[in-house]
């Protein structure tokens, strides 16, 4: 007994150092733990909590690591691997078991087995049906928005937009009245200086005074709101993937990953000078989908 204790005392200098360091580390952990209590009951403070929590865990971790590396004594161990396979014999035995026990049991009742498989398949399909309850059929949802002939243009708070609402080279996000904030209906109304728009006549017909042009605000690439208008180049920029659209040329993309122009919202003016839509966008808004081009 005494001999053992003496042997334990025969620590190397390295081990004695490690022991002292581990003791310091554990002490730090204890003190930080007390500190954590104090901070928590004093009302909490995120940064202090983080640091103290780190010291508790770190002190413990450093102590245990020192213990592992210096005080356990390094014993290299060797373990033999064992064959993983059952070997040819084992496989053969299993094959026999299959052929003699499973096979004949099923073969005797081949009609029943077929029916059983059929019933299993029917059950499987029936179990899949509830998946269809997870969402409505797409139908025409993606091809239509709430804009109709006569919809009044309003901003997100419901304020009506007139011919003078937007200053030259200014822009504003608009919605159909009664649908403020609706994701697929959002459009950008831009006041372009007179004479700059280069649109075919049928599109220019939806631009009151030749200056009030509106495009869908949803990027045709991945659906982000096209939120940035550069008045210097009269282009729209999507901040997500930097697709850029030429406002003067029907919002056709000229840089970045988008492949299709932003759909145009045809506009008109009612008797009071308020802006109204002449119909829905001239194409499905937002990113492409499989049957986008089908009626």
């Amino acid at each position: 007994m005494d001999v053992d204790r003496d042997r334990e005392r025969e620590l190397t200098a390295d081990q004695r150092r490690a022991e002292r360091a581990a003791a310091v580390a554990f002490t730090v952990a204890i003190l930080a733990g007390i500190g954590l209590f104090v901070v928590y009951f004093a009302g909490g403070q995120t940064q202090l909590e983080g640091v103290l929590f780190c010291l508790v865990l770190g002190g413990l971790g450093v102590g245990v690591a020192l213990w592992a590396n210096h005080l356990l004594g390094a014993h290299e161990a060797v373990e033999e691997r064992h064959e993983l396979t059952s070997g040819a014999e084992g496989r053969e035995a299993f094959g026999h078991a299959l052929a003699e026990e499973v096979g004949p049991t099923l073969a005797r009742r081949s009609l029943l087995v077929k029916l059983l498989a059929g019933a299993g398949g029917a059950l499987g399909l029936a179990l899949l049906l509830p998946v269809l309850s997870l969402g409505p059929a797409p139908g025409n949802t993606l091809k239509r928005t709430s804009w109709q002939r006569g919809s009044r243009l309003v901003d997100e708070t419901g304020r009506r937009i007139t011919l003078n609402s937007v200053p030259e080279d200014g822009f504003i996000t608009v919605f159909p009245e009664g649908h403020e904030g609706e994701a697929d209906a959002q459009a950008l109304l831009i006041h372009v200086p007179k004479g700059l728009l280069q649109l075919p006549p049928e599109k220019l017909a939806g631009v009151p005074e030749g200056t009030q042009v509106a495009y869908s605000k949803i990027c045709t690439h991945a659906g982000c709101p096209v939120g940035l208008y550069r008045a210097t180049t009269r282009s729209l920029l999507c901040p997500c993937h930097q697709s850029q659209f030429n406002v003067l040329d029907g919002a056709k993309p000229f840089f970045g990953p988008a492949a299709r122009p932003l759909p145009q919202l045809p506009l008109g003016v009612d008797a009071q000078g308020a802006l109204i839509a002449l119909g829905d966008f001239d194409a499905p808004v937002g990113p492409a989908f499989w049957d986008r081009g089908k009626k």
Binding site: L48, G50, E79, L134, G223, P239, A288
Partner: protein, 466 residues
């Protein structure tokens, strides 16, 4: 005390036969090399994620019902926000230690996926996936995908502006799946974006479906590892038939506990001091708002970059549309992760014709084609990751994003090829020189002769793997 332990051990052994199993388990040998700890770091992050995540579920409210915020954060007081966003603000500002828990959780998620990726690289570049470990390679790949899914679903839960835009992009990506995309999207989201169901559905995915699969597969991953035993680096006394290293008890147990504590300590420090995902600054999600610059968490960066790099090509097939989003966000990741998943079979079929069992690891230089392919693949992901930050680099370097995008588009064509060739050449040179890349010695070694003069001595090869 020892009487109690002895009796309970006897009780268990008589009923379950635990003694011999436990004895074998305690004597299991772990190779003593730092690169074998990468998977453990991932595991310990998962432990932290489960604890901090469970804490947060007691406060989080997965609902997009509108409420008026009346908490202590002044800029948002009186604003209509979703109940989900409101509950995250309350957790951050009003629950004691709530913000710490949230930030530790977010940091743990980032480190979790980083550890998985580096662990994956270690397995790949040392050929640890070779027979008989292909099954565990597949389980590992599934774990990577589940971890990415966990990351993305969790990131979207606060219903803040930044994650809402991320969700919008994800919606556009699923819409771009040919033929069934529209249906898949409507079933997943519950209708056209932003259908009200998506936040509560993501929550179920994030805290139940994905974690159940993840934890189940982690257990299986470790079970197969124990069954097949560790691989090891070649060295003195190490053969195909043995494992040399430290036993589970006591050395590896101490080491693993220390690593668990230190990993958690680092995460606690990050969570306490390094602000992450300050959702109150982004504001609540509104479908017509957008922020710039906008970056997702690092592990989605490559996909965001791929979307920015992608060509503006949509395709019209008999009136049906293939979206321009299809190429970078579905086809590219499909091919890249497909090749990676099937790599053990691709390598042996087309490169090595090596069907033998391997328990000794390659050094990366020993398999130049594999190493070159791996680094070229990493280069592809790295370029896309860079492009994901093109707006930030544009501001930092005072260069237009257009120039950065064009440069990286060309790099994507050239850099992987160059990387492949250079890596291949470096591997071959290292094979010849037998030098350790981290310990290349230059110059001459001089030796004093008995006569008092000097002569040059040959440099000893330092390629002894430890």
């Amino acid at each position: 005390m020892s009487m109690v332990i002895e009796r309970s051990l006897k009780y268990l052994d008589e009923r379950l036969g635990t003694a011999s199993f436990a004895r074998r388990a305690l004597r299991k040998v772990f190779p003593d090399h730092w690169s074998f700890l990468l998977g453990e770091i991932a595991l310990f992050c998962l432990v932290v994620l489960v604890f901090t995540g469970t804490f947060m579920t007691f406060f989080y409210n997965p609902s997009v019902r509108e409420v008026v915020y009346d908490g202590p954060y002044k800029p948002l007081q009186g604003q209509e926000v979703s109940a989900a966003y409101d509950s995250v603000l309350r957790l951050s500002f009003e629950v004691r230690a709530g913000l710490l828990m949230r930030q530790v959780h977010h940091w743990a998620a980032l480190v979790f996926i980083a550890a998985i990726v580096i662990h994956l690289c270690r397995i790949f570049f040392t050929g640890a996936f070779r027979r008989p470990r292909e099954v565990n390679w597949l389980i590992g790949m599934a774990l990577l995908f589940l971890a990415l899914g966990e990351g993305f679903t969790g990131y979207s839960l606060p219903d803040d502006l930044l994650s809402g835009i991320g969700l919008r992009i994800f919606y556009s990506v699923t819409l771009a799946i040919p033929v069934i995309g529209t249906w898949v999207t409507f079933l997943l989201f519950g209708g056209e974006f932003p259908a009200g169901d998506i936040i509560s559905r993501l929550f179920v995915f994030h805290i139940m479906l994905l974690p159940a699969l993840l934890i189940g597969l982690v257990v299986l991953h470790i079970f197969v590892l124990v069954l097949q035993k560790h691989t090891q680096y070649p060295g003195r006394g190490r053969t195909q038939r043995n494992v040399v290293g430290k036993r589970l008890w006591p050395e590896q147990t101490f080491k693993s506990i220390a690593l668990l504590l230190l990993t958690t300590a680092v995460l606690a420090l990050l969570g306490g001091l390094a602000q992450i995902n300050p959702v109150w600054q982004y504001g609540q999600f509104r479908p017509f708002d957008v922020t710039s610059p906008a970056q997702p968490d690092w592990y989605i960066g490559f996909l965001d970059g791929a979307l920015r790099l992608g060509p503006p090509w949509d395709l019209n097939l008999f009136g049906y549309t293939i979206s321009e989003v299809f190429w970078p966000a579905i086809l590219f990741p499909g091919i890249a992760f497909g090749v990676l998943t099937l790599w053990p079979w691709i390598e042996r079929r087309f490169f090595t014709k090596d069907y033998a069992e391997h328990h000794l690891l390659d050094r990366p230089r020993d398999a130049p084609a594999r190493t070159a392919t791996g680094t070229a693949g990493l280069m592809v992901f790295f370029i896309m990751f860079l492009e994901g930050g093109n707006d930030i680099f544009g501001v930092l370097l005072n260069v237009s994003v257009e120039a950065i995008t064009r440069t990286l588009q060309w790099s994507l064509l050239v850099a992987p090829v160059v990387t492949w060739l250079v890596t291949f050449w470096v591997c071959r040179s290292l094979q010849r020189s037998r030098a350790h890349p981290a310990r290349i010695t230059a110059g001459l070694r001089l030796r004093r002769t008995a006569a008092g003069g000097y002569e040059t001595a040959p440099l000893e090869p330092t390629s002894n793997p430890e």
